[in-house]
Amino acid sequence: MKVEIVTRRDGQDAIVTYDYQLRSEDEKPMVLDVLLQAQATEIPDLAYRYGCRARNCGVCTVDVNDKPRVACRARARDGDRISPMATLPALSDLVVRRDGVARQMRGRLANAGQGNDLNVEAPDDYHALTACIECYACLNNCPMHARNFDGGLPGDMPAGTAPDPAAGYRWGNPFSLLKLQRIRIDPLTSDAGKAAALDHAVELGLDACVGCKGCKCGVGIDLMGKVVRDMVTAASDRQPADTKAD
């Protein structure tokens, strides 16, 4: 089985064709198996992230034929092209820099705080959101996230113009909205906290969701139904002038 692996060393990109050796006739390897074998044979210092190999830790996401996939549970097929997630800046081979996303949430996650009665149950939708493994597959085709890169991808930006991830990205994405929606539906969040969470969503560019046909979650969370639609509705009810769909 032949696959293409996009590698990047010291700023130089190259495409390596790797011939995966099936370990049994009926083996149906995952993309991660291919990367492990490539590292064990031809590319000893291949850079890629992985963790639990069971689709729980969320770190092994790569693009397979330009679509984000969790590598440990994505079947590899002959002719596949494996490249770093295009939605975040590439560091080395298949490793992208992830921390610009989390950093934009600093100070935006005000929680229940001390002194509350913690013995309160959360609604089902709350638990639907904590299923998120932070794989960042949802950044794909997100117009809000693309605003960070002049509407395109980090790789398209002229050298030296890309935003510094260490400062946190200016514009949000489905993951950051999910985190805020989680706060909004937490029974322990005060009304002021709920309002603040919505404010943060608007600041992060919630208006980009208006008219967007939707985002896709790497582990099957209904992002439109459980996150985006409710926030857009709440924001437009509250701020008709700014964010209402026309």
Binding site: A40, N56, S92, V95, R182, D186
Partner: protein, 654 residues
């Protein structure tokens, strides 16, 4: 090209961002410290995140639970190796620690009658009270809370994609003290030298030493133990690696993941060799070590399965017309995540128990680790140790610390452990920084740091013929064979010789000189840590001259419950060989041990009787038993992987 060094100053540096690290950072920040948290994986992506999501919360299930009981349960499970001060601290803090997860958004089901988190309906094995709380989305729910705690708190600085290379110490009146640490920031392509009086190591386990025979995170390269050992700290119980016997041997994509526990083999499950001969019966009453030993012995005799394991045959459970359907429901509900993996990995016929499962042990948890007091501070000396002779300013928590679990860990304790000792070590680290009488003197970068920085810089651009990733694979294979679930003195010696060779090879590893995300350098550093950690495991294994806990010494007998318990302590003085010694532990009163022994024998007699019954009678009796276990709900109470309830044979071990 020379990689540049950035200098920073903090009160507390925390290494690792899972349960322990995030709680340490939060506690230190709350105590007013300037905190830096350093993580090589993205924030919160740890063993906590991929765990089963069960937490021990004292008094969550019954009014008559107490600190004394919980503390005693921990020591009994750990074969009397645990340090009482640590089990007491765990028992004292478990409720508050759990609430700190809740403050950050963890939301369990609530028992509205008692206004407590709802615990599982039955006490988990080894726990004499109900006190284990389960969560939707398992460990992922905890990781959201840990992530929130770090990201939200503007008093905490954090760096991910950063490898903590070494703790830097200075000597003062013949007492070693921390002056900071050196970090490789792969994302920014820099070394970061941090001046800080306190360092909390909370960077998890060592199971990657046995990869792919493990069900834990890739990043478990023993960093915590290696960094502490190089700094001169004592490590305790380093031979105590917990192996789970029933994990996937093939296909490779699922290799190492958990598919069952002794208890899920149920009443008629047996282990067979490749010829179909029974190598262990009554599996459900056995300890994990017994199951692992049976499998590994068979492999050595050349009667193992194609992928170095044996066959777990549960077909007899299923074939009974009355009790068979109950068994299938039991299997699917007792350990649902593992059963799901079995179905995906082994296929339908196996999942239906029409055929036997190929199984092989996997490394799951490190019970040993950095030797600390109840506040996570590095200790040395005799008995439970004292801070004199330890390293002032060095702290550890979570899987990185040793002495809490000894030879076995009760189910649902590790997530609580992270929060309890994370917070304790964070507070203590902040206090030490605040009260430090001697400031870290100006110009220390020329002294204590300079050797480490120079040595690290030299590695960038090192010419050589070897690849660290290839050496890593050699080490992993050899570790499995020699210091894995079965060990002998001869193998431990073989391991030491191999490690001599690997240590010498480190200078012949090729590392290019570019600074940004240099994977070869990362592989090299992790290899270095794995080698150091393997040394510690080998040294402690040599001293542990008998079988206790998660592994078996083929050349020694079981350690008697009546013998005097001891822990192993290893350390590596600079420019000297590893040192090993024993510290004695108090023994559980003989009366208690005897009571457990009687229970164990009674169980074993029952299973003999059951197996001798004619098929029809056996079937009816089993049907009754399943009904009793599963009740009206028709589902088994869930067990935790690694918990004593999942290997009830271990509940009877004193």
């Amino acid at each position: 090209m020379t990689i540049e060094t950035e200098w920073r100053d903090y009160d507390v540096v925390v290494v690792g961002s899972g349960g322990a690290g995030s709680h340490a950072a939060q506690a230190a920040a709350q105590a007013g410290a300037r905190v830096l948290i350093v993580s090589k994986d993205p924030i919160g992506c740890s063993d906590t995140k991929i765990s089963e999501g069960l937490a021990t919360v004292r008094e969550s299930g019954s009014d008559d639970d107490s600190e004394e009981l919980l503390s005693e349960n921990l020591r009994m499970a750990g074969g009397d190796l645990p340090v009482t001060a640590l089990t007491d601290a765990f028992a004292q803090d478990s409720k508050d620690a759990y609430d700190r997860y809740r403050v950050q958004g963890l939301r369990p089901a609530i028992d509205t009658k008692n206004n407590t988190p709802k615990s599982l309906p039955l006490p988990m094995g080894g726990h004499t009270r109900r006190r284990s709380v389960g969560h939707r989305n398992s460990g992922i729910a905890f990781s959201h809370a840990n992530w929130n705690g770090v990201i939200q708190d503007s008093r905490i600085d954090y760096l991910e994609d950063c490898w903590f290379l070494d703790v830097i110490t200075a000597e003062e009146n013949s007492q070693k003290r921390v002056v900071g640490g050196l970090i490789y920031d792969a994302a920014r392509g820099k070394l970061v030298a941090v001046r800080a009086p306190s360092v909390v190591i909370a960077a998890g386990g060592l199971s990657t030493l046995y990869f792919p025979k493990t069900d834990t995170m890739r990043g478990n390269t023993g960093d915590s133990y290696a960094v502490a050992a190089r700094g001169g700290a004592d490590l305790v119980d380093m031979e105590q690696v917990q192996f789970l016997p029933f994990c996937v041997a093939s296909p490779p994509s699922f290799e190492g993941l958990l598919i069952g526990e002794p208890v899920t083999a149920s009443f008629l499950g047996v282990l067979r060799d490749k010829n179909g001969k029974v190598i262990l019966d009554g599996v459900y009453l056995r300890t994990r070590a017994e199951c692992s030993a049976a499998i590994m012995r068979t492999v050595e005799d050349g009667r193992g399965s194609p992928n170095g394991g044996a066959y777990l045959d549960m077909t007899a459970n299923r074939l009974h017309p009355l009790s068979g359907p109950y068994f299938m429901r039991f299997l699917a509900s007792a350990l649902p995540s593992a059963y799901k993996v079995a179905r995906q990995a082994l296929g339908r016929a196996a999942a239906d128990c029409d055929e036997a499962w190929e199984v092989r042990p996997s490394a799951h948890y490190m019970m040993g680790g950095i030797r600390t007091d109840a506040n996570g501070a590095s200790v040395a000396g005799e008995g439970d140790g004292s801070m004199v002779g330890g390293i002032t300013g060095l702290f550890a928590s979570g899987q990185a610390m040793g002495g809490l679990f000894g030879a076995n860990r009760l189910g649902s304790t590790s997530l609580t452990e992270g929060a309890v000792f994370g917070a304790r070590s964070g507070q203590a680290a902040a206090k030490l920084a605040r009260e430090a009488t001697t400031q870290i003197e100006d110009g220390i970068e020329d002294g204590a740091f300079s050797d480490s920085i120079a040595a690290t810089r030299q590695r960038f651009g090192q010419s050589g013929k070897l690849a660290a990733s290839a050496l890593k694979r050699d080490l992993q294979r050899e570790s499995w064979d020699n210091i894995g679930p079965v060990r002998t003195l001869e193998r431990i010696s073989r391991m030491d010789a191999l490690l001599d060779g690997l240590e010498a090879s480190l200078d012949d590893v090729a590392i290019p000189d570019y600074a940004e995300w240099n994977q070869a350098f990362i592989e090299f550093e992790e290899l270095r840590n794995l080698v150091t950690t393997a040394r510690a495991v080998a040294a402690a294994s040599r001293e542990r001259d008998g079988s206790i806990g998660g592994h078996v010494r083929l050349d020694c007998g079981e350690i008697s419950a009546f013998s005097h318990p001891y822990s192993t302590v290893v350390s590596k003085p600079a420019n000297d060989a590893w040192q090993v010694r024993r510290v004695m532990r108090p023994r559980t009163p003989v009366k208690q041990i005897a009571a457990y022994k009687v229970k164990e024998n009674w169980r074993k007699a029952q299973v003999k009787f059951l197996r001798a019954l004619p098929a029809g009678m056996q079937d009816r009796r089993l049907e009754k038993k399943y009904k009793a276990i599963m009740g009206d709900a028709g589902a088994a109470p869930e067990v935790t992987p690694g918990g004593v309830d999942a290997a009830i044979g271990e509940g009877t071990k004193a």
